[in-house]
């Protein structure tokens, strides 16, 4: 910060501009995410009051912490795509495909690490292809990725004849111990997911790629004029989404010891909802990884919470919707759109 202080040496007042004070920078930069966090905490407080006994048992949290990571691997990359001004609805099938690659390799008797590598390659390549299609054919990403989602899922069903793959030996492997066991009662998946989210947040805020993703979503013409390869940046966001979906596919398969032909399908809406509940707006140019992670936390606790609070499962859908709408209203009020 020494370089900054020089600027204000003529004024005896604050040498640092208010916007440059670290704490204020942090709050302003994470405004949407902190708002989501507040919503999450209020929600959890309500649950806790409604049923203190259930919400003070660790197993409830432990089960959420096992499944939440799968969503986190996809929420963070999706924030990149939305910030770049696009959308992706094809990640559930990419997750399914990558999981299938992993399952095949493990089933064939190879080391699961090789399976992970295969899954990552499949995921990144699929994401890259989706990106190419959207960017070079200049298609609406909403419709094109919806089409890709159906097509890829259809392919999965055709190839596997809709049969699941059970991986009984997986539990004895090193890969399982590293990626899917638990450490002192804490599911190890959540640690990997947190590491991934931190990496994604750094990439988003402190890396050239992230900076260009922001600018491309904000003003593509301007980015182009300043020499940024807009198409390349957009395609890379889809490839990164493919990577996230691949990791999600691997983790999900490891948790269940089974790969299902429907693997990934259930994540479409919760992951989308998490991104927007977290405070990333739909119009591109800005987004928040931290918020997206809090959004995922909120979304995954709604179902557990409502059932745990003693309400019947019929309420789940209603409260899912309610939380999404309330969050959007909150962010609308909290965020100004500059033009």
């Amino acid at each position: 910060m020494s370089g900054l202080a020089e600027g204000g040496n003529q004024g005896s007042a604050a040498p640092l501009h208010p916007a440059e004070r670290p704490w204020r920078r942090f709050i302003m930069a994470n405004r949407a995410g902190l708002g989501s966090l507040a919503v999450f905490l209020v929600m959890m407080a309500i649950f806790l009051v409604a049923n203190p006994r259930v919400f003070s048992t660790w197993s409830l949290y432990s089960s959420v912490l096992t499944t939440l990571p799968v969503a986190l691997f996809m929420v963070a990359p999706l924030v990149f795509i939305v910030t770049a001004g696009e959308i992706d609805l094809s990640f559930p099938s990419t997750m399914g495909f990558a999981g299938l690659a992993f399952a095949w390799v493990v089933q064939a008797g190879y080391d699961p690490f090789l399976g992970i590598a295969a899954a990552v390659v499949v995921g990144v390549v699929l994401g890259f292809l989706v990106g190419l299609l959207v960017v070079y054919a200049n298609l609406s990403s909403l419709i094109a990725t919806l089409g890709m989602n159906f097509m890829l899922r259809g392919l999965i069903l055709i190839i596997t004849q809709s049969k699941s793959i059970a991986l009984e030996t997986l539990g004895d492997s090193w890969a399982y111990a590293i990626f899917s066991s638990d450490v002192g009662g804490i599911p190890v998946q959540i640690l990997w997911a947190i590491a991934f989210v931190i990496f994604a947040a750094l990439l988003f805020n402190r890396h050239r790629f992230g900076a260009q993703v922001h600018v491309v979503g904000d003003n593509p013409d301007s980015a182009n004029e300043m020499g940024i390869d807009v198409r390349r940046v957009r395609i890379l966001t889809f490839a990164f989404m493919g990577l996230g979906a691949a990791l999600a596919g691997v983790f999900s398969t490891m948790i269940n010891f089974t790969w299902w032909p429907t693997s990934g399908d259930g994540y479409l809406l919760p992951v989308l909802a998490s991104v927007f509940v977290g405070g990333t707006p739909t119009w591109g140019g800005i987004g928040t990884i931290f918020g997206g992670a809090v959004g995922a936390l909120t979304v995954s606790f709604i179902q557990t919470g409502i059932v745990g609070a003693g309400l019947s499962g019929f309420y789940v859908q209603f409260f899912n919707g309610l939380i999404i709408i309330l969050s959007l209203l909150g962010h609308r009020w909290n965020q100004i759109r500059y033009r």
Partner: protein
């Protein structure tokens, strides 16, 4: 006699059989402000697009520091030290000033990780250089919070970061209030002090008059008038000159240029 940085010789540009420019010659000297004037559709914009390499001339020669350049393009123009601030300013308004200044030229270290502190202090330096210091804004402020004139300042700061020798400002004061226009002029004067040349395009004669060392008036695709600031006492005199060259047009003959911007 100051050195000529850029020289355009006998530039023509035709779209089909319509001539937007019919043989324009102009030059920019080191450290001067050239005021490029002309009515809407006179050919100013075309000339600027040629200077910045976005549009290629049909015929004519472009000479950079005494050397004729072939294969003129936007990249060549930038290499030659010409930075153009286009009318729409091309800013990403939801991003910080820093991110806009370093758009596409981020300061980064290994593996592309940004050197944010370095960027911020560079932005401070650039903003000081053009006299864009404010107690309200810092390099981390969002561009969308700035006024029109201040946004123009960000665009200018971005242009000078590229070590530009010539900065082309395409109607930088259009749609700005008086105070905002004054801000932009303040930035331009600071840039001039640093020894850079400026080509200032405008249609408000008073604005251009205040800032330019030399005036070039384009009319119907040709240079109608070229005057040094020393030869003109007041803006009114310049207007009179311009009217005298425009008179034949008023007298008769429909201008085919009117349709071209």
């Amino acid at each position: 006699m100051a050195k000529r940085i850029v020289e355009l010789r006998n530039i023509t540009k035709s779209y089909g059989n319509v001539y937007a420019l019919g043989g324009v010659s102009m030059h920019v000297e080191e450290g001067e402000v050239v005021g490029l004037l002309g009515d809407n559709g006179a050919g100013k914009s075309t000339l600027i697009k040629i200077l910045s390499g976005v549009v290629r001339p049909t015929t004519g020669e472009i000479v950079i520091r005494g050397k004729t350049v072939t294969n003129w393009s936007a990249a060549r123009s930038r290499e030659a030290g010409i930075e153009t601030v286009f009318q729409d300013r091309a800013l990403a308004v939801q991003q910080s000033i820093v991110r806009n200044i370093f758009m596409g030229r981020e300061i980064h270290g290994r593996f592309g990780w940004l050197k944010v502190h370095h960027e911020v202090s560079e932005a401070h330096r650039l903003m000081r250089e053009i006299g864009f210091t404010s107690k309200v804004f810092s390099p981390l402020s969002i561009v969308g919070q700035l006024s029109g004139g201040e946004r123009q300042g960000v665009a200018i700061a971005r242009a000078i970061y590229n070590q530009a020798d010539v900065i082309v400002l395409d109607e930088p004061t259009t749609a700005l209030s008086l105070t905002e226009t004054a801000k932009v002029f303040h930035f331009i004067r600071q840039v001039k002090t640093s020894g850079r040349s400026i080509v200032f395009i405008g249609h408000n004669i008073h604005h251009v008059f205040d800032i330019a060392d030399r005036f070039v008036v384009i009319d119907r695709g040709k240079v109608a008038l070229e005057k040094s600031r020393a030869d003109v006492a007041t803006a009114e005199e310049l207007i009179e000159f311009m009217e005298s060259v425009a008179r034949p047009r008023l007298a008769g003959g429909a201008a085919s240029m009117g349709a071209l911007a």
